[in-house]
């Protein structure tokens, strides 16, 4: 420790260790992340107003009071069968009595039996006339009739029927569907129900160790197809409205990755879902009412009488006080607060950019490394309190 050059070299070496570990390593790994989500879908960079809004967010230092990081929590697994295996007995055994006695499960196998009988009948009917055996055709017909009767017997709930049809893995012609109590011509919603049919065989409280054996048997023995859905146990951010945990790829296209310092205000990682929730097709739906609510909050966080410690950002608006009989112009937003005179505000480009940026902050789409988390109903009652 008395040779100066060695001190210099040692300092450089010691610094390079943390530089490698905290800069080069993570940054090169994260830098190589792809935007692809699989299935031809990909994360998209912010453009236009939303991109400008990121600069407004940065220059005002909003990241000192808001985070953009939904963190992880504890969860259990719900095993969701998407297609049952061939052998009913083994599947019943693996699934367990609690779930194998449910109408959807029974009906799914009834549909499979119908499909099997129909195939057998068709096979007999398709034989050459000299090889055709009328007795066998009669038997197959009887079997099909019996199967149809059984399939139509279990419950009348159309949703259950559609889910059973979906997880059975069979495909009926329209006339057969009509005979079985299924809609001959399905609308979009019914098609989506069949395509996305899931049959849960755990209640979502089990951890991996609890379900590992069942998962192996489903895959190896029962031949069923299934997916594992995380269900929040203690996951405050998800219970407050985030769809999932924030991950590196949420910041992939950010010009400035502002994860945030403190949560004096709420976490904004899923603010886009609050202002513009997704419709059934997964497309964000903006409404004038929600936009104006955001503008009012930005202009005066206490406009609706609710307590808030967010400072007002009045300089992001043009404003004018309205007289009793004043006319309101197009694009103006009216703010009425107690006895104070009515005010009409027009958001500047910066305010509109900030709104566009807020709408772009979302965790409502699943990523392979961060699937959407299901929230039990009682736990999701409290949504984004502030």
């Amino acid at each position: 420790m008395n040779k100066s050059p060695w001190i210099f070299l040692g300092v450089l070496f010691a610094l390079s260790l943390s530089w490698w570990g905290m800069v080069y390593g993570p940054a090169s790994q994260v830098n190589n992340l792809s935007a692809g989500l699989g299935g031809g879908d990909a994360l998209k960079p912010r453009v236009g107003l939303a991109k400008q809004g990121e600069q407004v967010y940065r220059e005002n230092g909003c990241y000192y009071c808001h985070t953009r990081t939904a963190v992880g929590g504890t969860f259990g697994y719900e095993i969701q069968i998407t297609q049952l295996g061939d052998n009913q007995q083994i599947n019943e055994e693996v699934v367990g009595e609690d779930y194998s006695t449910q109408p959807a499960f029974k009906k799914a196998y009834a549909y499979r039996a119908v499909a099997k009988a129909a195939d057998a009948l068709k096979a007999e009917q398709d034989k050459k006339p000299e090889e055709r055996n009328e007795a066998k055709i009669g038997d197959a017909n009887a079997t099909l009739t019996s199967a149809k009767t059984k399939a139509g017997a279990h419950g009348d709930d159309m949703k259950v029927n559609l889910i059973a049809y979906g997880i059975s893995g069979v495909n009926f012609e329209p006339d057969m569907r009509a005979q079985l109590g299924l809609p001959a011509e399905m609308d979009e919603e019914q098609q989506a129900t069949v395509a996305g049919a899931r049959f849960a065989i755990t209640d979502g409280k089990q951890e991996w160790n609890d379900i590992e054996r069942k998962v192996r048997r489903l895959r190896d023995k029962a031949g069923a197809q299934f997916k594992l859905q995380p269900v929040a146990k203690e996951w405050p951010d998800v219970q407050r409205g985030a769809g999932r945990q924030s991950v590196s790829r949420d910041f992939l296209f950010d010009a400035h990755a502002m994860v945030g310092v403190m949560r004096v205000g709420p976490d904004l990682s899923s603010q886009g879902s609050v202002i513009a929730p997704l419709d059934k097709n997964g497309v964000p739906v903006s409404t004038l009412e929600a936009d104006n609510k955001f503008y009012k909050h930005l202009y005066d966080p206490q406009w609706d009488g609710q307590s808030s410690h967010m400072p007002p950002f009045r300089y992001l608006f043009r404003e004018r006080t309205l007289d009793e009989d004043a006319l309101v112009s197009s694009g103006e937003i009216i703010i009425e607060k107690g006895d104070a005179p009515k005010v009409a505000i027009i958001p500047t480009v910066k305010a509109r950019a900030l709104l566009a940026y807020m709408k772009s902050l979302r965790t409502d789409k699943s990523l392979p490394e961060a699937p959407l988390v299901k929230v039990p109903k009682q736990a999701s009652a409290k949504q984004l309190g502030e």
Binding site: M1, N2, S4, I7, F8, G10, V11, L12, L15, L17, S18, W19, G21, M22, V23, P26, A27, S28, V30, N31, L33, R58, E59, N60, G61, C62, Y63, Y64, C65, T67, T69, V71, G72, E234, P236, Q239, R240, Q245, S248, D250, F251, F253, D254, A255, H256, A257, V259, V261, M262, R263, V264, P266, D267, P301, H309, P311, P312, F313, Y315, E386
Partner: protein
């Protein structure tokens, strides 16, 4: 603290302390006085920012004074304004004294110091206009970063020349820390500037870079300068040898190795391995804590540092205590539950404040209290030495209030964040900050007194017989006797 010259070599003769002080006078006093100005700005911006949290409508119509901009400005003013100036000034003086040589190329230092302050001013103006890069802990706009870099290079050039101007048999541990700080700064700022501001990497990759830069600037850059002064002044004033060079070396290397890894939030959107690695490094930080803490406590064994009669030693005592508390907090961050609970609360900010004011500023105030009068000569002392002790009291009280509020009350905020049923999360978040506001006021008071003391010292002693105070003294009797004004 003896420094024996190497008998086998032919070292240059050791310069007299008076000559060394004289060589350092202009550049070091310039840096110290600049530090005093920036300390006032940093604490004032901090107070103003905190005030906006309590009264959200206060100055709300002024886009240049949002809470975020004031926070960024306060940290830049402290880190580069106060800490940079004071730290570099002390580095130059200590290196000169430890090497027994006059400061080499003081002209370079003056040029560098002017550049440095131009850079910090540019940064403050830039932040006010909204040019900050959005990286908490490193809020330097691109243009300011470049100027600071050049300024540091000029000052470091002089420091390195001074360091190599004379060979010693033994390097005192403070020299290791000072050299490390001089090497670390360009590396850290260069990396942050290049990867975050000049040619930013992709958004997701900025997160680990930003954390490393902010943590390294605090733990390594500031930590090295602050610890160098503790290791220098505690033995010097207690007139003892440093307890153990081996412990000092161990603590030094561990700090350099671990300083950049620690304190990563467990909820950061980063690969899990880097979070786990950071937690492991935080756990290993206990070695730094023990090595440095044990060594200095043993050195001062039997001497009540904070209760000492010597004001410099008092400063060093609080500084050491603050460093130990922050190091303990860092070790605590190795526990995922603890880290997860406090990661988005005021605790992290409070610990940064404790490190900045309780540890670093205390060490600098104490060191400047010792060094600044000596730069004018052995007979000069502070104009009102009784006033300077208020710098100590106010900073110590402020650090204690911020530290206690941050550690104690942030727990409630953390609990509220993890409990969905809690409705008043914001109230819980603000509670520690409300109390810490009192601490920030104390910092402002201390900074103002420090600034006034420095101004008074310069006013009385600069330019020898031509100092403003001397001229006033000469003029007043002349005027009373009816002479020329």
């Amino acid at each position: 603290m003896s420094e024996n010259t190497d008998n086998n070599a032919t070292p240059a003769p050791e310069a007299k302390p008076e000559a060394i002080n004289a060589s350092c006078r202009l550049p070091v006093l310039f840096l110290f006085f600049s530090a005093a100005i920036w300390a006032v700005q940093a604490s004032a911006a901090g107070v103003l920012g905190s005030l906006k949290l309590h009264v959200p409508g206060f100055l709300a119509d002024c886009p240049y004074l949002t809470y975020g901009r004031l926070q960024a400005g306060a940290w830049v003013a402290f880190l580069f304004g106060f800490a940079g100036n004071a730290g570099l000034g002390l580095t130059l003086w200590m290196l000169s004294r430890l090497r027994g040589m006059e400061l080499a190329r003081p002209g370079f230092v003056m040029a560098g110091a002017i550049m440095w302050n131009v850079g910090v001013t540019a940064a403050m103006v830039g932040i006010t206009l909204g040019d900050q890069p959005g990286v908490p802990g490193y809020e330097l706009p691109a243009y300011a970063g470049r100027v600071l870099f050049i300024g540091h290079a000029l000052i470091a050039f002089s420091a390195i020349l001074t360091f190599f101007s004379r060979r010693h048999k033994q390097l005192y541990p403070s020299s290791w820390y000072l050299i490390a700080s001089l090497v670390a700064f360009p590396w850290i700022v260069g990396t942050a500037h290049w990867l975050l501001v000049e040619t930013p990497v992709r958004g997701a990759a900025q997160i680990p870079v930003a954390h490393w830069a902010a943590t390294s600037l605090q733990q390594i850059w500031l930590g090295c300068i602050g610890l160098a002064s503790l290791i220098y002044f505690i033995p010097k004033i207690t007139q003892r040898e440093l307890y153990s060079r081996q412990w000092a070396a161990f603590g030094f290397w561990m700090l350099l190795i671990l300083g950049g890894w620690v304190n990563l939030n467990s909820g950061s959107p980063l690969p899990v391995w880097s979070i786990k690695l950071s937690q492991f490094a935080s756990m290993l930080f206990v070695f730094v804590l023990v090595a440095v803490g044990w060594n200095l406590c043993q050195t001062a064994k039997g001497v009540p540092l904070i209760g000492s009669e010597d004001l410099t030693l008092k400063f060093m005592g609080v500084s050491l205590a603050s460093w130990l508390v922050v190091a303990l907090y860092t070790v605590g961050n190795s526990m995922a539950d603890w880290n997860g609970l406090l990661q988005f609360t005021y605790a992290g900010t409070a610990m940064r404040q404790l490190f900045a004011w309780g540890f670093f500023a205390m060490a600098m105030f104490g060191a400047i209290y010792y060094v600044a009068p000596r730069l004018f000569g052995s007979e000069v002392d502070w104009a009102c030495s009784g006033t300077y002790k208020w710098v100590f009291y106010l900073t110590a009280v402020g650090a204690a209030v911020v530290g206690l509020a941050g550690l104690g009350l942030s727990y409630g905020h953390g609990e509220a964040l993890t409990n969905v049923e809690t409705l008043e999360v914001t109230k819980k978040a603000l509670m520690p900050m409300r109390i810490a506001f009192m601490g920030e006021l104390a910092f402002l008071g201390a900074s103002l007194i420090f600034f006034c003391s420095m101004a008074c010292l310069l006013f009385r002693n600069c330019c020898g017989e031509c100092s403003p105070m001397s001229l006033i003294r000469q003029c007043c009797p002349a005027k009373a006797e009816g002479g020329a004004e």
